[in-house]
Symmetry: C5
């Protein structure tokens, strides 16, 4: 898990709606690109200045603005003004620790999401804050980084196949959220492999490092759960709320989205169940090992301690110890010792200790 | 538990509704067979080509199409077109990792299920994806494999006994779902036997392999739960939703189906409770065993260590040790040692350690 | 806990509503007896043939049929036909693994229950499947065995005291369910005594057999919970549903029934809480004991190992060991050993180890 | 915790509504006293016979009957008749194991409560069954014992300060319930002190008796929870239900009562959380201690066992052991032993074992 | 966690609505200051006497009274009278152990809150009781201490920037609650750092003091949760309830407040999940350590005990022991011992014990 980002915090005492970037420092400049399409054709990506982005009065088709980077407060401010976004929405776009949510306004719907990727370097998941705003004829999408998660959607628009060009901005917004949820499946697949690998280790060869791995998995899953869980409510309120921005035709797809979200949450919960069971197994197998160590110690001690005692007896220096002067004394004692050792060995074997 | 199937995933970026088979590779060809019946008679199984399957305009009686295999995307596409299924439905049919669900459309009801069987080879459960679509006068059923789970239903149709021939396609759809749920009881019976066997082992003779068995059971039950739990909602929405496709007469049977589902879930939860208790018992009994080992070690050491010490004393080579020259020295020391050993033994027996 | 009965299962593929006895084999014959009463008088028990049992057209007073044994499918079939019961209801009567439930039909209410008794032989609970059907002017009650649980109700009818003769069949049905729930209290009292006894043992003298007892109690409580929990819903829907078969006057008593059910569930949950806490205490007290054993071992070893070493030193055979030839050598070494032993003893006593 | 009282049980088979005292045996006689007041004045306590207690036709002001003792069934029967109470209510008053509940009847509201006191003798809580019935112009209150929990309410009536004299019987009933809930806070305070004391012990000095104390606290809290939890529903239904017996003015106070109940439940849950965490800490600290014991044992053994072995070597009686005849043999061996001992000590200190 | 404050308790038997300060003793005097503003200007802080605080008949703009200190009952009484507050509200203001809640009255809304600060001295959180009352044209805020948590709000009023001057008292009340919730984020950040630090310790270097730290964190989080959880309901009822005191424009901000509250609760739950997992890891790592200690002991004992035994054999004083007189006896025995030691070492290394 990445170090938990700082909690969302405008400067203490700042007015609510004060836009402030919350997240790790970045130096790249923010780029805005626009794509336009309707059933008949499309206009490909164009890089624009913030001030050039304006909703059209009578939109013909769909206009999609992609903003890569949310760390330039000024850009967000201009966009906020042009599209008449509520200051709190702009604040939430800039706050990378904002939890996923959906807020319905009169003229637009605001969706905050976590885009999740698997980082194979530290075998953990990374989350990126992402926002999607659906308006009348336009969609705004924001990413922390310039990323290519939405590229396949653009490809579908360019190809003109499927129904994306035929449907409105609500379908585009759906397609973007769906692309993010699709990413969850990929991440879960890889986390699932990690879980299986660690599980294998726990059952067959529990080491202290396994414990750390289990703990790490547990944290990753807590983190994942926290990012994905609110998606359920988002999908649900998209279906349920009777917003005029969402057409009847898109609603069927939203049910599919909801279904995928449930599937994701389900998988996370299952993994959590499995991982939390692993700790018990780990503890049990550590106990088992200690048990084995103890048994060896006990067997060794129990066999040799009496023998050593016998040897000690005949190492005493009493003047009058008749056995010592007996010719057969030594062989008889050796034989007795052997008998004792063998009996104890048999006894322990019967108890399945060795 | 079978290795978790890959998470449902259309190729990244593919348009929603893109039909793609998700599941293990298969080479068998897909077969479609049709059965028709009405209260007066029936037409037995006929193998058809996909294009020959079409809903009738004015259905007289019930037509049931069985599709064995969902890995031929082309077949599914043709059926989808003929029966006017939504592309997302066709996608879900082909996706063997789809979770169970029910979706109501204007002209048909789509039900996705998991058919579960017990695999005695690896003492685990296998799940097969299965779909049932109920339309006006027709039912479509899909299985991953050519299987005989629906054979008894066909037998009932052929015999003409019972009410199946007298009632409509809604009763047929119910009968198919019921056949699947019936399978759960069989699986649970066998899992129940596994649980009892392992429980016996945990209580009477806990070995490291027992731990693995407990863990295995736990996973199987997590898997079962995940497959069966959504059935509750499916049965419930069949009863509650006022679809014109479901007659009043069939609703009584759906309540029975609901009841069976609850029974199944109940049993799974009970088993989970029992299995999760077993780990505690296992841990306790490992602790108990270690305790016994420790006691033996302690008893042996505590008796012989002082004795050996005494022997050591008289093994010292001091010139002036009067006891050594005393005629009764040796017997007296032996007797003292014996007394000490006996006292300690009595002491430990009093403490119930031996 | 009795071996879990086979899961409810009509022969695989059998038509729903196929009546089949599910339960342990029985050879006794099934008897049906009838009792009739109204505010003015009563007709005592009469043994009847199944075909003689018929609902009256214009019932004057209440007719109560008791069926002892549900393993004769033919008897159930005849009764089902005479009283116009839905085939699924008859199936549920014969299925002794049916979970408790209430189903409302147009002309009657069907209630399935578990009658629970405490079996002091194996210190566990036994459950018997029981069904009660409330119709217009009649009540049917079914028990697996000829039992006397309903005898006190008959006594009240005969005596004519109380309000049972004055009220209708709904009150009779209530009285029967109430008799069953009354039985729960008795069972819980005895289970409660078991819990207290085992608790005493866990806290004061934990043995391996205690562990088994705790595990046994846990299972009994899981079993009890599963049998009693659905009663809550049954009582609740009797109160809530506006069936014309249940009079306003009886509803007050149903609230009392509901209250008793809640009390029962409450007690079970409390017992479960206590029992699940016991395992922790057991583990802790096993750990405590092991700790004591370890301390003794450590004390013995730590005192005698150094002493033995000293003795070993002076048992060496070097030619030039001046101490050996010193007259005071032996006493001085003995004194040194004593000092060492005493110091260590004091040290351990300070640490509260002995 | 007091021994769980016998489960509520009328004699098996007795008619519902049969009044029978359930509780520990008592020989004191039951006393009934009456107090009357209105805004202008009051009539102080008067001891009455049961038959003298009757609701007035046109009540002027409030009449409050206090009944001390519920073990005289005859008294309850007479009161029940005079105030037209439902037989089930009278049964509940006499049943000291009745769980807290509220039942609304046409002419009165019945409230069953647990009055809880802290028993410092066995550091546990005791519960006393108490009932309050609110009618039109009158309030009946029942206690198991003659107690003084309602004395402050009487004092307020006598003093005429506050609003109690100005408001109706609903406010009096509220004041009585509030007095009972007030008692919970006192008990929780003392239990809280116990929790803190035991927690201190667990963290700093865990002994076997601590385990027993933790277990005892756990049971007390389970018991408390069970007594207090239903209060929430009682307070809630007093606020929500639109009974004509409860005036608008009193409702504000009921919200306060609800708030206090939530506070109490909250505190209990918090204590339970803390106590259940203590067991883990206890186990961990027992493990820690065992670890320390093990370390000492290991250190002692690991240092002296090799030394003893060396001494053993030179205690052998071989004829040809050149070291034995070397003048420096003894000092060199001693020095070697010392070196070995010191090295091992340093090694263990590095590992932080000593 | 600070010692739990005494449970809220008016003197036993006191009339509800009796105002009594519950909290730690304080000697500072209580100060009341007033600030007034409207869109055009503002009047800065003025210290007033209680009697001077009165709601205006026709409020022009907003009047905000800040009361620092709730331990002077007389002051509260006067304010309560002037602003026509219900006695129970005044009681709740003075009761510092009051749990957070919102109560709607006809003319005002009462909000009780916990202001939380991180105390770096004992690495724990402190809570301060705080109340906010929103009336028609006025806001009353109460703090236990003179604090500066509301200073930034005053700064915003003075600067005239943002929307605070333009909106009514409802926005001011929101701004105050928001300032308190903002404080939670700061506290959680610091607790989050503590969690990470302790987690690090648990995984890499578990000591007994770590256990205490984990337990301390657990308690802090229980305490935090209890203080923050009710905020959810408060924010929710502010949004949902249709009070005329809250304008439509402010509602958007309340949704933001709700969102922040959820975020806070979410973070606390996540931390609790992590901390509760730590105890398991701690236990496992203590077990691991003990395992290592055991292994060393076993290895040392298992190697040296047999060797010592061999030495013991040749330390026996039998007259007829041929090996003793053999010239090569000593070297051969030494070599044998070495071989044995090496073999055992290899054996243990193979088992990965050393």
């Amino acid at each position: 898990m990445p170090k938990e980002k700082k909690a969302p915090r405008k400067p203490i005492g700042a007015s609510p709606g004060t836009v402030a970037y919350v997240g790790r420092e970045r130096s790249e400049s923010v780029t805005i690109s626009r794509m336009r399409y309707n059933p008949n054709g499309f206009e490909d990506l164009q890089v624009l200045k913030p001030a050039e982005c304006l909703p059209e009065a009578n939109p013909q088709g769909v206009t999609w603005y992609t903003v890569d980077g949310v760390h330039d407060v000024e850009v967000l401010r201009i966009l906020g003004e042009n599209f008449k976004l509520h200051p709190l929405v702009v604040e939430d776009i800039a706050n990378t620790s904002q939890r996923p949510k959906l807020e319905q306004f009169d003229d637009y719907i605001f969706i905050a999401l976590k885009m999740i990727t698997y980082n194979s370097a530290h075998k953990g998941v990374d989350a990126e804050h992402s926002s999607i705003i659906l308006g009348n004829g336009w969609v705004l999408s924001f990413l922390e980084d310039a990323g290519d998660v939405f590229e396949p959607v653009r490809a579908r628009i360019r190809s003109g196949k499927g129904r994306i060009r035929k449907l409105g901005p609500d379908y585009l917004a759906y397609a973007l959220v769906d692309a993010v949820v699709d990413g969850y499946f990929q991440v879960l697949e890889q986390v699932g492999e990690d879980v299986e690998r660690v599980e294998e280790e726990v059952v067959s060869d529990a080491k202290p490092s396994t414990l750390r791995a289990v703990h790490h998995l547990k944290r990753e899953l807590i983190f994942l759960r926290r990012s994905v869980w609110p998606m359920r409510e988002i999908a649900n309120s998209l279906i349920r709320d009777e917003s005029p921005l969402v057409s009847h035709e898109t609603r069927v797809f939203l049910r599919d989205l909801y279904d995928h979200t449930i599937h994701t949450i389900d998988t996370i919960e299952t993994q959590r169940d499995i991982v939390s069971g692993m700790l018990d197994v780990y503890l049990s197998s550590v106990s088992n090992k200690m048990n084995q160590v103890m048994k060896l110690l006990t067997v060794m001690s129990s066999i040799f301690i009496p023998l050593t005692f016998v040897a000690g007896i005949y190492g005493m220096n009493f003047e009058y110890m008749p056995e010592l002067h007996w010719v057969w004394g030594y062989p008889v004692v050796l034989a007795a010792m052997l008998t004792l050792a063998v009996s104890l060995t048999i006894f322990f074997r019967r108890k399945h200790w060795i």
